[in-house]
């Protein structure tokens, strides 16, 4: 149950960060043009959107860290599988488990380093340049994202060890795109 909430939360966070960052950047661009329109000038001139770029970058970095964890669960992180596909089953399983273990180790180290870094930042009053939010909040995505990713790697490893199933992302299969059975080309029909 708790896991399902976590899964859902992860999806909601990254999808809404994606949408919000797009909207904010679009609004900032639109604002830059509309401010030149004389009628709108008095209203729009007072709005300062200089912070939008920074916010967009931060949102995307947060999205990237959590999205990477989501990607472990859905198997979107690609590796080189030319060699392991040629191994016999027992070796294959061992090598794949080693690969997943590498993921666990890396994300755990990075998470810990990030946590230390953020912890030290908490005692300074460093803020981000435009938005002036405390830096440690901005950087908190490194430990949070990495630990979540580490957890996902452990999950995938556990499942693979017992069932031999890996999450597999099929780039060639896009949801909802059906291969049209009938040609939609109305023109030039013989």
């Amino acid at each position: 149950m708790l896991l399902r909430i976590l899964d859902r939360l992860e999806e909601i966070i990254i999808a809404s960060l994606m949408g919000a960052a797009t909207l904010i950047t679009f609004i900032a661009v639109a604002h830059r043009f509309l401010v030149d329109v004389p009628v709108l000038y008095p209203y729009l001139f007072q709005i300062n959107l200089a912070w939008s770029q920074e916010l967009c970058i931060y949102m995307f970095i947060w999205m990237a860290k959590f999205g990477a964890a989501y990607g472990v669960r859905t198997g979107i992180h690609v590796g080189v599988d030319v060699l392991i596909n040629r191994l016999n089953d027992r070796w294959r399983k061992g090598v794949i488990l080693f690969g997943l273990f590498g993921g666990v180790v890396f994300t755990a180290i990075v998470g810990t380093m990030g946590a230390k870094f953020v912890y030290e930042l908490m005692y300074t009053d460093q803020t981000s340049p435009d938005l002036e939010i405390p830096s440690w909040i901005v950087y908190a995505c490194i430990p949070l994202g990495s630990y979540l990713m580490c957890f996902r790697f452990i999950q995938v490893m556990w499942a693979y060890f017992w069932t031999g199933e890996l999450p597999h992302h099929d780039a060639s299969h896009v949801d909802d795109i059906e291969v049209s059975p009938k040609a939609p080309i109305a023109l030039g029909e013989a």
């Binding site: 999806e11 990254i14 999808a15 809404s16 994606m18 960052a21 797009t22 909207l23 950047t25 679009f26 661009v29 770029q53 970058i57 995307f60 970095i61 999205m63 990237a64 999205g67 990477a68 989501y70 990607g71 859905t74 979107i76 992180h77 690609v78 590796g79 080189v80 599988d81 030319v82 060699l83 392991i84 794949i96 080693f98 690969g99 590498g102 993921g103 180790v105 890396f106 990075v110 380093m113 990030g114 230390k116 870094f117 995505c141 490194i142 780039a171 060639s172 896009v174 909802d176 795109i177 291969v179 049209s180 009938k182 040609a183 939609p184 080309i185 023109l187 030039g188 029909e189 013989a190």
Partner: protein, 427 residues
């Protein structure tokens, strides 16, 4: 020495099937831990600062735009338009497929999106009109590779960001090679169809052509917005990408009505997950190139090359061989992110134009997309056409040969890539 160690470790880790991003990161950590005095904490900071760049953010925006466009009827209308123009020639639907791929490539930045969008409509259509299945698969899976050459291109953005080259100039540099490759692929298509006497379509009347043009206009406008906006200095590439994403959302949901509003979160999630995967490779590739610079590996290689009096001609040949080999094991974005920071200093030392190197690298990775074992375009085509990979590999051969000829042209005639950006005063 350290170069051998680093690359040895990287290859060993990659061969275990570990995600490429993780292998890059682990290599860096291991090396820094055991061999250097670099404070390991600085790595944590790099994981953030590596992405702290507005230029990189063009990537998620272009991916989002591409995800919307793949769902919408933009591809279908473009196909109808190109069919009305060239359908009556030998191999008409094939030629229309090449043209539609080129057009779709000009609004989307990925070749996967192009193959999915055009292929899922065009391949079944070609079978229905009596073309052999092999022919359709060959045409679409190779033409789809135009997606990363014709601007906007996610891979060109990656190159621009990792070598500090102007993304605008790179985009302009991709146009002439893109058109040239499209023409070469079309020529092969025409020749194969003419020899085997494949069916033609009835010639469309002028009013039919105009109607098809008008219907596809919404999609075609996007080309103008992105390229015109960047060239005219109205947008930065990242802003153009954000505008393209919003525009793509509006036309698929409100104009063509191919996507319901409730399905939008799913599109967002899909685009976010694809972008995060790429951004995660980028962070780790930044770490890796930090290690490279710290160990002064590119500098050492450059000194060696100058010392041995390598000509540009030889150097480019070696670059091609290395990249083609890399294309056998990795996807375009990983190749770019790992190789660009290494090749870039060497190339500038020898006087190769950075923009030329960028286009050259893209074309190399394109070839990798169209042959096994990792040719992603083939896998997509195989799942759309329900054909085995080995059969498809044979099917793409004529077009793949044309691509190799094209690669030779791009390598040794830099003007193909440099003419337009130079004309526009961008380099």
């Amino acid at each position: 020495m350290s170069a051998a160690l680093i690359f040895g470790l990287l290859f060993a880790l990659m061969l275990t099937g570990m995600p490429i991003s993780i292998s890059l990161g682990l290599t860096v950590l291991t090396f820094l831990f055991t061999m250097t005095e670099v404070p390991i904490e600085s790595v944590g900071l790099k994981l953030f600062s590596g992405l702290d760049n507005f230029g990189i953010m063009a990537i998620p925006f272009f991916i989002l735009a591409g995800t919307f466009l793949t769902r919408g009827g933009v591809a279908r209308r473009m196909i109808a338009f190109t069919t009305s123009l060239v359908g009556h020639l030998p191999g008409g639907l094939g030629l229309a497929g090449v043209a539609a791929c080129a057009m779709f490539a000009a609004i989307s930045g990925s070749s996967v999106a192009t193959v999915v969008a055009i292929g899922s409509i065009m391949m079944p259509a070609m079978v229905e009109y009596g073309y052999p299945r092999r022919f359709g698969v060959g045409v679409i899976s190779t033409s789809g590779a135009l997606g990363i050459l014709v601007p906007p291109s996610i891979i060109l953005v990656l190159y621009g960001v990792s070598t500090n080259t102007s993304i605008g100039a790179l985009f302009m540099a991709g146009i002439v090679p893109g058109v040239l490759l499209a023409l070469m692929l079309a020529a092969v298509t025409w020749f194969v169809a003419w020899r085997n006497d494949y069916p033609r379509m009835k010639r469309a009347t002028l009013s039919q052509q105009f109607k098809a043009f008008r219907e596809s206009l919404w999609g075609l406008l996007l080309i103008g917005i992105v390229l015109g906006g960047i060239y005219g200095g109205i947008f930065t590439p990242t802003e153009a990408a954000a505008v393209a994403a919003v525009y793509a959302f509006i036309i698929t949901v409100f104009v063509y009505k191919e996507l319901k509003l409730v399905e939008v979160p799913k599109v967002l999630l899909q685009a976010a997950s694809m972008s995060s995967m790429l951004l995660y490779i980028i962070t780790n590739a930044v770490l890796f190139s930090f290690l490279m610079t710290h160990e002064q590996i590119p500098q050492a290689m450059a000194a060696w090359i100058v010392d041995k009096h390598f000509s540009i001609w030889m150097f480019l040949l070696v670059v091609n061989v290395i990249l083609l080999l890399a294309g056998n094991v990795m996807d375009p974005s990983s190749i770019l992110l790992i190789m660009a920071p290494i090749l870039f200093p060497l190339a500038t030392k020898l006087g190769v134009n950075p923009v030329h190197l960028g286009v050259l690298m893209i074309v190399n990775t394109e070839v990798g997309l169209c042959h096994p074992p990792v040719g992603l375009n083939l896998y997509i085509a195989s799942s759309i056409a329900k054909m085995g990979i080995s059969e498809i590999t044979i099917a793409v051969l004529p077009w793949l040969c044309a691509m190799l000829v094209f690669l030779g042209l791009i390598t040794y005639v830099p003007e193909i890539s440099l003419w337009l950006p130079r004309l526009l005063g961008m380099i």
